[in-house]
């Protein structure tokens, strides 16, 4: 008798091969797998590249000198800032930021010009409402240039020379409401996790539901193929898709968005496998629950939204309430974002990243176990 009850590689390979053929022929899904990442990159990238101007700015000036007036005038002409009013107290400044009346509050201290003339490097304080860091970063970056020009124009001879080489003013920027100070560079690597999460979960959940909906499951179930062979066989081709997406996003980060990539790409490619597997297992498990393809899509969105919101991609993780942080910690995307940002932006090594990987591995094992239990060997 040639009966084997366990896992057989050749049957698994048969399923993988079949999936590849189908994937190649299914133009719409294939377009979706490449199209969704591109679309998200462009949408988010557009938001990142946008360089908002005319941001409402209030000035709290205790120094009425040509220098401070020069700086304010310079800000206005730079078009980044729209100086909307003069404030007279700290309380007003705080209120303006809090209500959103002002995106920035510039505080010029009382002794600004006196110190400047004495060469004592006075402090300019720029408080920014950084809830949307992408919105403020361009303006903040321009301030140094504005101040330096304004001062160089107004300072007398020798001091101006000095100012041309070294800025005689300290500009202190306080980013309010965003303790993690997410910058634009944070977003593109983060997108990698978001895109993998969305597309892989959705596509795998569709892959199995489709077999049920088209009736091909009936034939498949009547053959000796085993649940594990079907599930892994269906997952495997999409691992490759995941890697294509990763490569695509890394290329875009580097050449489209000029993200400075510090770390090595090796840990990214090796350890992302765990994250890819985790998302695929979610897809497979959802497909054991979903009755049709529409339900499968809805369920993957249902999984995707909390991932998007609670992982620290949309909102800074530490700014979330405790319950949301607990929920967020259970999601693979949360850990993957830290891993990717750690490696790409901070240059963390693979070994250092393992603390972010094991929670994803546990998630994967738990979900695939549920999927195996739920996989129906019969049609009812």
């Amino acid at each position: 008798m040639t009966i084997d009850i366990g896992f057989t590689f050749s049957r698994f390979a048969a399923v993988v091969y079949k999936e590849f053929i189908q994937m190649r022929r299914d133009r719409v899904t294939f377009a979706m797998m490449i199209g969704i990442p591109l679309m998200q990159l462009i949408l988010f990238g557009y938001a990142i590249n946008s360089d908002p101007r005319h941001l409402p700015t209030a000035v709290l000036s205790a120094d009425n000198s040509p220098y401070s007036r020069g700086i304010v005038a310079g800000m206005q002409t730079s078009t980044y800032f729209d100086v909307t009013g003069q404030l007279s107290s700290r309380a007003q400044a705080e209120a303006a930021l809090k209500n959103g009346d002002a995106q920035f509050v510039l505080t010029i201290p009382e002794d600004f010009s006196r110190k400047l003339l004495r060469g004592e490097t006075p402090v300019l304080l720029l408080e920014a409402d950084a809830t949307d860091p992408a919105a403020t970063s361009g303006a903040v970056a321009s301030l140094r240039e504005i101040v330096s020009r304004a001062i160089a124009r107004d300072l007398p001879g020798p001091a101006a020379e000095l100012a041309a080489t070294d800025l005689p003013v300290t500009i202190r920027v306080h980013a309010e409401y965003n303790p993690e100070a997410v910058t634009q560079y944070n977003i593109v690597p983060g997108l990698m996790g978001v895109i993998l999460s969305l597309t892989l979960t959705m596509i795998t959940s569709l892959a199995i539901t489709r077999e049920r909906e088209r009736g091909t499951m009936e034939n498949l179930l009547s053959t000796p193929v085993k649940p594990l062979e079907v599930m892994l066989g269906k997952i495997t081709p999409y691992i490759l898709v995941g890697y294509i997406q990763i490569a695509l996003i890394i290329l875009a980060s580097k050449f489209l968005f000029d993200v400075p990539l510090r770390g090595s790409l090796v840990p990214i490619f090796v350890l992302s496998l765990v994250f890819i597997a985790a998302n695929l297992s979610v897809g497979v498990t959802l497909s054991t629950v979903a009755k049709n393809q529409l339900q499968a899509v809805q369920m993957s969105v249902f999984f995707f939204l909390p991932s998007l919101l609670l992982s620290g991609f949309m909102f800074p993780f530490r700014g979330m309430p405790a319950w949301a942080q607990v929920l967020g910690s259970a999601l693979p995307l949360t850990h993957y974002l830290r891993f990717v940002r750690g490696v790409l932006l901070k240059g963390a090594t693979g070994m250092e990243s393992l603390t972010h990987i094991w929670p994803i591995a546990i998630f994967f094992l738990a979900v695939i176990a549920i999927g195996m239990l739920r996989y129906r060997k019969t049609l009812d």
Binding site: T2, I3, I5, T8, S10, R11, A13, A14, Y17, K18, I21, Q22, R25, D26, R214, G215, T216, M217, E218, N219, L221, S222, T223, P224, V225, K226, K377, T378, L379, D380
Partner: protein
């Protein structure tokens, strides 16, 4: 085939036969059945009848609706067993339970000697199941579908095997077409080819010839008979009477209940129906008149004749006597269709 046999009224189905052969299922069933019946099945199975399908009291409900009700059935090795019944009577559901695609709510049984409820994984490699609905991959080519099937069954020498299969089933010229682009009949033929690829010892075919042209249907039945001669068993559901007549034995199921299980001849004889053929003028008006008369069960038009049947000879003759003067009346053999329609009407009443 040669002669009409005198076998007891009903075979297997009645509860009386179940307890006698329940404990020693596989070996000792030859004496339980009428000995005359085994050679009647064309003497195909030299073994004389080890049961390939042997189920008792199989029941399946969807929600509150009982779809297969306490069904017992026995099919011997090498037998071509026809499975008939009106739409929605539970044929597909029953076949799915046999090959492990659906779990029975209650009842028990074996298929190829393995328990259908616990050993489905052992049964599957030896069963060729063809579903009613096309269930191969429309986005794979004909060859790819066969190749995939061969891989799943772990068949050796795949390329040659698939090539032969394409050749024998007349599929060679479609080999590289997508299965979805085939016409309905060719899809059926592909599905049939796929489910016989691994040389199964039991074929479970759910309406395999629906939409297939007469020539291909004849080829199909010839092939099934050749396989049966080699000891392959086939359970085939169909709605075609000519196909039913090509089966060794038949089961008729309606609304989940098994109503009869016998040879063609046995079914006709046991139905007790008498049929007369009438030809002459104004057959349509005549049929309207006859339909309402007592003793007339069915009136069916066949071209220039009417077939009138009823369960009781005397009252049927009484009903027909008025038209004796104007028409030619002749007693003929009752056919299967009349038997099945009679059975179905009987089933709906309770």
């Amino acid at each position: 085939m040669t002669d009409i046999l005198f076998d007891p009224k009903r075979l297997a189905q009645s509860p009386s036969s179940a307890p006698t052969d329940a404990p020693p299922k596989v070996p000792a069933d030859a004496p339980a059945d009428a000995p005359a019946d085994a050679p009647a099945d064309a003497g195909l199975s030299g073994a004389g009848g080890d049961s390939v399908i042997d189920v008792q009291g199989l029941t399946k409900s969807f929600g509150s609706k009982v779809v297969v009700n306490n069904l017992s059935m026995r099919v011997r090795r090498g037998e071509i067993f026809g499975f008939l019944g009106p739409n929605g009577s539970g044929k597909t559901t029953f076949i799915r339970m046999l090959c492990g695609l659906l779990a029975a709510d209650s009842g028990s049984g074996t298929c190829l000697g393995w328990d259908i409820r616990t050993q489905a994984e052992r049964i599957k490699p030896h069963v060729g199941y063809m579903s009613q609905r096309f269930s191969l991959y429309e986005d794979l080519t004909v060859r790819e579908n066969l190749d995939f099937t061969a891989r799943l069954y772990g068949l050796p020498d795949r390329a040659a095997l698939v090539g032969d299969c394409l050749e024998h089933n007349g599929l060679a010229r479609f080999a590289d077409n997508l299965a979805g682009s085939l016409s309905g009949g060719w899809k059926q033929r592909l599905a049939l080819a796929a489910c016989t690829l691994h040389d199964p010892s039991l074929l479970l075919l759910d309406e395999p010839t629906a939409g297939v042209d007469p020539g291909a249907r004849r080829d199909f039945w010839d092939a099934v008979h050749r396989l049966a001669a080699r000891g392959v068993t086939a359970l085939i559901s169909t709605h075609y009477m000519d196909e039913a007549e090509r089966c060794h034995r038949l089961a008729y199921i309606a609304y989940g209940d098994l109503l009869a299980q016998d040879t063609v001849e046995g079914l006709i004889r046991n139905s007790g129906l008498v049929t007369w053929s009438i030809s002459g003028p104004d057959l349509h008006e005549l049929s309207e008149i006859l339909r309402g008369k007592p003793g007339v069960d069915q009136v069916v038009a066949f071209g220039n004749t009417l077939h009138v049947s009823g369960p009781d000879e005397a009252s049927l003759v009484a009903a027909l006597s008025p038209c004796g003067a104007t028409h030619q009346c002749r007693r003929i053999e009752t056919n299967l269709e009349e038997v099945f329609i009679h059975l179905m009407r009987g089933a709906r009443k309770p």
